[in-house]
Amino acid sequence: MSSIKDLEKKGPEVTVTVVPISHSQVSLSSVESGTPPASEKGEEDEAPDGGWVAWRQVIAGHFINAISCGYSATFGIYQLYYTEALNLPAAQIAWIGSFQIFLNSLVCLLGGSLSDAGYARHCVWAGSLCVLIGTFMTSIATEYYQIFLAQGVLQGLGLGLMYMPSTSVVSSYFKRKRSLALTIASAGTGTGAIVFPATVQFLIPKIGFAWAVRCSGFVAVVICVIGCILLKPRLAPRKGAAIVDVSAFKEIPYVLFAVGTWFFYWALYFGFFYVRITSIPYYISSLVLGLPITNRSPVSH
C-alpha cells in the first residue's frame, strides 16, 4: 500500500504506466483519485442501467426487502403464541401488529428524506439495529406493554427506516430497466415472508419460543449485514433536504397518484388478510383484525 501512495504522489500518469496489468484495480482506483471530482454533474444524470455495482444494489435491495417487508409476516405465529401461551386478548395483540405496519409505512417518510440527504446506509444500519433489538426483546417479553414496545414500536420503526434507502438507491442506478430492478428487489418480500415464518414455526416445537425468535433474529442479522455491505448510494446528497417536499403537492399527477394509491392500499390490505378469514369461518372471530398480519405482504412492499 505504501508504494501505491508513493505513486499517487507522483501523479496519475505515472501510476498507469508503472502498475502492471494484473493490478488493474489498483491502477483504476489511483486514476480515479487522481482525476478531479467529475461525478458532480454529468455522470450523476446518467444512470448506468446495468453493470456489477448496479445489480449488486438490486441484490442488496432484495435482502433488505426480505427484512423490511417479509419479516413481519411472522407476526401471525407470534400472535398465536401470545394468545395461547400468555393468555393475552387476541384483539389487543392484533393491535400491535396493526401498529407495527402503520409505523413501518409512516417512517418511510423519514427514511425517504434521510436517504436523499445522503444517509441511506446509516438508515439501513440504524433500522437493522432497531429490528434486532426489537427481536431479542420480543424473545424475553411477557407483558403486553413489553410486546408492544418491542414489536409494535421498535420493529415498526426499524422496518420503516430500512425500506426507503434501498428503494431509492436501486432506483438511482437504473432508468430504462428501472421497473425490473425495483421489482426484483421488491420480490425479496416473498423471500422473507417464506424464510422467517418457516424458521420460527419450525423451531418453536424443537427449542421453544424464546430461542426460535432469537434464531430468526440471527438469520436477520446475517441478511441485514449482507444488505448493508452491498448497498452503495450513487448520487451525491441533496442539500437542504426537508422531511416533506411541498413542491410535490403542486403537481396534479403526483397528488392524484397519492389519492389513487391511498384507495388501492385501503382495500388491498383488507383483501390480503381476507384470504384466511373467509376460508376459516369458524376460526376465532376475534382474530379478524389479527389475521391480516399473518399475510401481511407489505404495505410497501
Binding site: 396493526s98 417518510l109 430492478a181 421489482t183 416473498g190 448520487l235 389513487g260 384470504v275 376460508s279
Partner: protein, 166 residues
C-alpha cells in the same frame, strides 16, 4: 360468499397463504419486465390495480376449496404485480432523481393511514352485514375500481395520448 365450515382448518389455510406468497414473487419480476419493455410503469400499475379489482369481485363467486386455491393464485399474482408496479410508477413520475426518496416516502406516509383504516373498515362491513363477507368483497372491488379511475386521470395529466408507454 362464505365457505362452508370445516373446509379449511387453521393449518390448511397456511397453504393458501403460501400459494399467495409463492406466486406473487415471479409475478413481481414479470411485471417489472412488462413495465420496462412494453407498457411503461404507470400503465402497468393501473392495469395491475384493475386486475386486482376484478379478482376481488370474482371472490364473491368462490364457493369450494379448489376454487379458493385458484382464487389465491389469482390474488397472489394481481396483488404482487400491483404492489411491485407502484414503486416503479412513482419513480417514473419523479424527474429529479435526488428527490426519489422523499417523493416515494411521502406516498408511504400518506398510505400508512389507509393501511391502518383498512382492517377496521372491512371489519365493520362484515359486522353490519351479519358476519357474511359478500358486501365486504364488493366494497373491496369497488374501492380498487375507484383507485383505477383516479389513477387514470393522473395518467391523463402525464400524457393525454392513451397509447404511449408511460
Amino acid at each position: 360468499m362464505t365457505l362452508p365450515g370445516g373446509v379449511f382448518t387453521p393449518t390448511t389455510t397456511v397453504n393458501l397463504l403460501l400459494v399467495t406468497n409463492a406466486v406473487s414473487t415471479p409475478a413481481r419480476v414479470f411485471i417489472g419486465w412488462i413495465a420496462d419493455n412494453h407498457l411503461g410503469p404507470f400503465n402497468t400499475y393501473i392495469m395491475s390495480v384493475a386486475s386486482l379489482a376484478v379478482t376481488l369481485f370474482s371472490w364473491t363467486a368462490v364457493t369450494t376449496a379448489p376454487g379458493m386455491y385458484i382464487w389465491a393464485v389469482a390474488f397472489g399474482i394481481t396483488n404482487g404485480a400491483a404492489q411491485a408496479a407502484y414503486v416503479g410508477a412513482i419513480a417514473g413520475l419523479t424527474k429529479d432523481p435526488k428527490r426519489i426518496g422523499i417523493r416515494i416516502g411521502m406516498i408511504f406516509g400518506i398510505i400508512s393511514f389507509a393501511v391502518l383504516a383498512g382492517p377496521p373498515t372491512a371489519g365493520s362491513i362484515i359486522d353490519a352485514t351479519g358476519g357474511t363477507y359478500h358486501w365486504a368483497q364488493v366494497w373491496g372491488g369497488s374501492v380498487e375500481l375507484l383507485a383505477v379511475v383516479i389513477l387514470m386521470v393522473a395518467r391523463w395529466f402525464v400524457a393525454s395520448d392513451l397509447w404511449v408507454a408511460v
